[in-house]
């Protein structure tokens, strides 16, 4: 049984006479301390009544409970705080072991979805508990075993409350591809400016005008007017291609300039939908967002609103022409590929109306016009 020990104090001018008196009471004193005319005794709780009863000249005061009883008392006094701490720890351990996001990194969407579905089937899903390293290794091995022809390598990394899944696709080269016979043909009309030949026989020359569908590089290797071998031609052919663009530019336009005034707002976002907490105080403004809280799909932003004013401006004829040319180039740049370049642009027609200028622009582009086209294998068809 646990003893209920307490610490008591009493004022005492002569410590030795106090102890002589106390010894006849047959008490257990576990600790005695004498400090500043006070005696501090560590005794059993039941002995306090004895002390008070027989040593009437001394005034005994209970200082504190000791041992388990003091702990029980402290727990009783702070039970709300302790419950909150325990709940907090439970919540913390739940949150640190919870997965709120699974990111699968690969450019192939089908593969991403396949891996997500597989992970889901093994219980690796959003708002589920984290798996141990051993379990994750088993899941990885199971997926790799299930899809040996699709997935070459798979890694699941834990970053906070998210799993980052990195995959490497298994690319099996098709042997049929190597036996394929194909030509390089033109996909647009144009004048040949540049030929990069990798495999095959060139059938066009520089500055030749070709039409859509014309063969540029042939897959049939001919020697002494005799077809020696058929391969899949490879190469790139660039040609000068012409475009005409019609642009209409209004002479009057609005420009927005910042006034220097700024105001702050709080914005919350759920599933990419932003909503302001306070009303807008500017009619025209530019915004900058600073994210300061992110919980699952919920985000909070501090928004800086910079007031802008509308300034009405007018183009001169030359300026409008420059803008028209820039817009024509922009529209062509959107149409052409990364390897293609605009060589030149010229104004074909220019008509000035009351409020607009209509311009027809002629743009010359050096463009990749070649594309691979599989040809019919005659030998195979005969057999």
């Amino acid at each position: 049984m646990n003893k209920h020990l307490i610490k008591v104090k009493t004022k005492c001018n002569n410590y030795y006479s106090f102890l002589k008196k106390i010894q006849y009471l047959n008490l257990s004193i576990y600790e005695i301390e004498y400090k500043d005319n006070y005696v501090y005794l560590k005794i059993n709780n039941e002995d306090l009544t004895k002390l008070k009863k027989y040593l009437v000249s001394y005034k005994f005061q209970k200082e504190e409970d000791l041992g388990l009883f003091s702990l029980k008392k402290k727990i009783k006094q702070n039970h709300i705080f302790l419950i909150m701490v325990i709940l907090g720890l439970i919540l913390y351990s739940i949150l640190t072991n919870l997965i709120v996001e699974i990111n699968v990194f690969h450019e192939n969407q089908d593969l991403r979805e396949l891996v997500k579905e597989e992970l889901d089937s093994y219980g690796v899903k959003v708002l589920s508990f984290k798996k141990s390293y051993k379990q994750l290794t088993k899941i990885k091995e199971a997926i790799l075993e299930k899809y040996p022809d699709k997935i070459d390598w798979l890694e699941i990394e834990t970053h906070g409350m998210a799993y980052d899944v990195k995959i490497e696709e298994r690319i099996i080269t098709d042997s049929k591809e190597e036996n394929k016979i194909c030509d390089i043909v033109a996909k647009k009309n144009g004048t040949i400016k540049h030929i990069k030949l990798e495999e095959g026989e060139r059938v066009v020359d520089l500055n030749d005008y070709v039409r859509e569908g014309d063969t540029l590089i042939s897959g049939k290797i001919i020697y002494n007017n005799e077809e020696k071998r058929s391969i899949c031609a490879k190469g790139e052919v660039y040609a000068e291609v012409w475009y005409t663009v019609d642009i209409s530019i209004p002479f009057h336009y609005n420009e927005y300039q910042e006034t220097g005034k700024k105001k702050y707002n709080i914005v919350w976002e759920v599933n990419d939908n932003k909503k302001r907490i306070l009303k807008n105080r500017f009619t025209n403004f530019n915004s900058k967002y600073y994210n300061f809280l992110k919980i699952f799909n919920f985000k909070l932003y501090l928004e800086k609103e910079y007031e802008t004013k509308e300034i009405k401006k007018e183009y001169g004829a030359d300026e409008a022409l420059e803008v028209a040319l820039l817009k024509a180039k922009d529209s062509i740049n959107k149409k052409i590929g990364e390897k293609d370049t605009i060589i030149d642009e010229k104004v074909l027609k220019k008509r000035i109306n009351n409020s607009t200028m209509d311009v027809e622009v002629f743009v010359i582009v050096e463009e990749l016009i070649s594309t691979q086209k599989e040809t019919f294998n005659e030998d195979l068809s005969r057999s």
């Binding site: 410590y15 030795y16 102890l19 002589k20 106390i22 010894q23 047959n26 008490l27 257990s28 004193i29 576990y30 600790e31 005695i32 301390e33 004498y34």
Partner: protein
Amino acid sequence: MHLKENLINFLYDLDYFITIYDNYIHIFNYKELISLSDTKIILKMPNFTLEIKGNNLFITKMLKNELLIKGNILLVGKSNE
């Protein structure tokens, strides 16, 4: 018969012992505290009287049969009276 004596001794633990440390003296199974001052403590033991002399003598623990005295202990003596 030794077994019986040992058992009784183990259960009742009536033997006294005195242990002296650097600044402490521990006495087990004393009978009575006869005199107490900061320089001299006299204790009644089962068959003799124990006298402890020293400076700043101070009782730090006092149980029914046990005493722990702290202080600069100079002399521990025994008399049969």
